[in-house]
Amino acid sequence: MSDKTDTGKNRVVIPIGPQHPSLKEPGCFIITLEGEKVVDAVVGIGYNHRGLEKTCESRTYIQDLYIIERVCGICSHTHSTAYCQGIEELAGIKIPPRAAYIRVIVAELERLHSHLLWLGVAAHEIGFDTMFMYTWRDREKVLDILAEVCGNRVNYGINTIGGVRRDLDDYMLDSIQKTADVLEDQIKYYLDLAQNEPTLEARLSGIGKLSKEDAIKFGAVGPVARAAGIPDDIRVIEPYAAYGEIPVNPVTDTHADVFGRTIVRIKEMLESINIIRFCIKNLPAGEIAVKAPRRIPAGEVISRTEAPRGENIHYIRSNGTDKPDRVRVRAPSEANWHGMNHMLKGQYLADVPITIAAIDPCYSCTDRAIVLASENGTNVTGWQELRQYSIEWYKKRGIDVASVKIPDKKIIMNM
């Protein structure tokens, strides 16, 4: 629809969504344009409201753990950590040091896969699909490790009230270490690319501006705030799990735009690798969980974690029974939406998808299944077979993937 304003300029209103070009989750954006420029934007969300908080009130604490884990498909560990440590605080439980370290290792693996996913999405939004494929290929390495450690690619189910459910053996630690080594090289390459590739900087600089003052005003969190020079990181402000014993250096930047958010996320991945290496080296021996009571004493708690997307806050109120009285989850994306209108105003329409994507909206990739046993006759296709199948499939159609030459040998080696 279009109409003429008092200033005589033609304005066009474009409703984008609920199914829209950047998110794989529903959201509606009513964009008002003057020519190609966005003059107003109304953000409509809530299409994914599933009533999880209400559900939590009618189930026991341990049942709720599985619900809370499913708040987000990407950063499920951060939610279960915030929930578990909240309940542990209410019950007066101290988790064993080994469990705290394992929580940190999984949290940083989660941050790695979340940021790699984002980097791919961002690259795709700006038409840099080569980078999208590289980063998602690397993300698979992290997901494979998470599957090995936790049994699941996402919704890891590692946390329980009182500790963690699975221990890490030497073989797993070795796998994590090797993957971290490979990823470090790749991530350094992405950092080099982001900092020195002129087209990337030209495409992302000045897009989705949110100054330090505005980031504070709109309550931005995580990489969005840190890219505006705000060094807030819950791992440092209020160290939880084992973060109190681990050196964590929050990454900040001063670009305050999508380019800055890209740099921050890439550098944060290198920081995550350092943290993982520290945890592996200093992993304490001992138990991985303590017994937690079924009934939790009455009280209230505010529990915080640093999710890949920023500060994650859980409020839990107990009433002395085995079910919580109130559970409230404030996920980081919920905080970052408030600055979206401001970020979109003054942008070109073509920049809307990457601006929205730059706050790192979530989507769940739970479709892929790993089947570990085939005794019942199920036809199982493993990763290597699937890869071989795809190579053969293309060969039959005259495309020999194996003969494609990529100039950077380092990347081929890491494939």
């Binding site: 509606c28 109304v42 005003k217 209230e300 505010i302």
Partner: protein
Amino acid sequence: MTEQAIVDRLCEEFDFLRDRVYVQRPKRIMTQFLDRKEFKQVVNFIHDVLGFYKASHVVGTDEGPDLGFIYIFSNSDGIILALKQKAPKSDPRIDTLTDMYPSLLLHERELVDLFGAQVQGLPDGPRYPLPDGWPEGNYPMRKDWKPEYFDKKTMTYNPPGTGKEGDEK
């Protein structure tokens, strides 16, 4: 400022806060429920004087005859102040804080949809988070609202005694 210093300053400024604000643990300051007038005074003070520049969210609660609203503020030291206010369900009016804290917009909209709060001065905009066509007067986060009585097909709430119970398929 330490947590205790903030509590002392609050008590010094507002007599009604004595014994109603306390340090729960490091980085956590909690208050008891305040009324609308008291709450507004304290919010202005923590925003203008004590440097609680960040409002993370509002937790709505069902307090029997009242609705509870727990506002989570924090300062540059990462200290959280949970400031609470109450309003009766019969007159659930509260004032918006979006003029001071724009980051509370979605959370206040949520209080309207899920708890039936009347947030005075809340800017116009799309509802959040319930869908268009949600039956009026149904506030699902109140304790007396039971999901089993809600018919998703007809979008109607049919509690026992209305003659329509058991409609949900």
